[in-house]
């Protein structure tokens, strides 16, 4: 199966382009058009994006990013490392 190269490019570009990421979330049709995502893929994505991604052959890491970009990521455990990093000085001191 041909990989969904247009969708891959869109997801990768949206990592760095906040405006594009916003268009993807709010007006996905516009974002898909900008990247020439084929119509049949747009149809699948509009029905159920999470189910469509593996069906379309989207790279697993990009599936993860795409769901995050659309606000559909269901992994509730993601958290910032900052709190842990703030403890390092105390932890390292304890070992000395």
């Amino acid at each position: 199966m041909r990989p969904p190269v247009e969708l891959h490019r869109l997801i990768s570009a949206a990592i760095w382009d906040r405006d594009l990421a916003m268009r993807l979330r709010e007006t996905p049709e516009q974002a898909y058009a900008e990247f020439d995502v084929p119509q049949w893929q747009r149809g699948e994505l509009s029905k159920d994006a999470a189910a469509a991604l593996p069906k379309l052959g989207v790279h697993p890491n990009l599936q993860f990013k795409f769901l995050g970009q659309l606000g559909l990521l269901k992994l509730g455990t993601l958290t910032s490392v900052q709190e842990f990093l703030d403890t390092l000085e105390a932890r390292h001191g304890k070992h000395r």
Binding site: H8, S12, H59, N61, V81, L85
Partner: protein, 270 residues
């Protein structure tokens, strides 16, 4: 000649403590201990090997092995890694790429990368003060074809050779391989952890059986450790760079609430 003064391998993801606070604390203590050991080895250069998570590299040019040659790196900031600039070493990265070319390794020099959590997070807990110059080494297991453990192991040996024969006297180099252990990213098995396989990977390093790790095939790793488990190629890199030294396990948790096995080892390279 230079020397490898510390070497370690560790998982590089992070999650909420809510589901299992005790296990999360043991992971944090383990990461902090690895960071302390690397930091206290006083490296001039810190090489952090990881796969990029398709943040800096794209599917349009699937680069398997690359090395950072920037003068400075600012982390991407994913997972909340502070966007604090770190010194890089253009000279070390470029010289290692040139050295590798003589050994039939095509290590792609890259600039202007924003290291994601695979490199930024371990750097933050091992090089918090930024005293060591950071050299990101990308073993991009997200690409197809994925760099094999055998290739990464040989690259680790090349690094050791490079440090010991080409680098200035007294230069101190720390090596950190990050990623794994077993996890399945956006696959039906997502959420599984294969603790038995994770332990085996760790033992390959702690018992000085790097060659066994290097012999693992893509199919075996994918089956037993998942697509995320392919990141253990960076552990094979550490084994090669450590000259098959033995090591010790620092932490391990089958962290199902984070959807991954979490582990760390420190090699006895002294």
């Amino acid at each position: 000649m230079g020397s490898i003064v510390s070497a370690a391998a560790t998982s590089h993801t992070f999650g909420s403590s809510a589901a299992d606070p005790m296990a999360a604390e043991r992971i944090q203590a383990g990461m902090a201990e690895i960071g302390r050991i690397v930091s206290q080895s006083n490296p001039d250069i810190l090489i952090v090997a990881s796969s990029d998570h398709l943040n800096n590299f794209t599917m349009d040019a699937q680069i398997p092995l690359a090395i950072g040659i920037s003068d400075e790196y600012v982390p991407l900031g994913d997972m909340g890694v502070p966007k604090v600039p770190f010194m890089g070493s253009r000279e070390f990265g470029s010289a290692f790429a040139a050295f590798c070319a003589q050994l039939d390794f095509d290590l792609v020099p890259v600039e202007n990368v924003r290291p994601d959590h695979g490199i930024g997070f371990p750097n933050a807990f091992s090089n918090a003060q930024g005293k060591a110059k950071l050299v990101p080494l990308y073993v991009n297991t997200v690409m197809t074809p994925s760099p094999s453990c055998a290739r990464a192991y040989a690259l680790g040996k090349a690094l050791r050779n490079f440090v010991e024969t080409q680098r200035p006297a007294g230069e101190r180099v720390a090596v950190l391989g990050t990623g794994g252990l077993s996890h399945w990213v956006c696959l039906p098995e997502s959420g599984n952890v294969n603790a038995q396989w994770d332990r085996r990977v760790m033992e390959c390093l702690t018992c000085g059986r790097g060659a066994e790790l290097a012999a693992l095939t893509y199919e075996e790793i994918f089956r037993d450790g998942g697509n995320g488990g392919l990141e253990i190629a960076t552990w094979a890199f550490v084994a090669g760079a450590s000259g098959d030294a033995k090591g010790r396990a620092i932490y391990y948790e089958a962290m199902t609430s984070w959807w991954t096995g979490m582990g760390g080892v420190v090699m006895d390279v002294s």
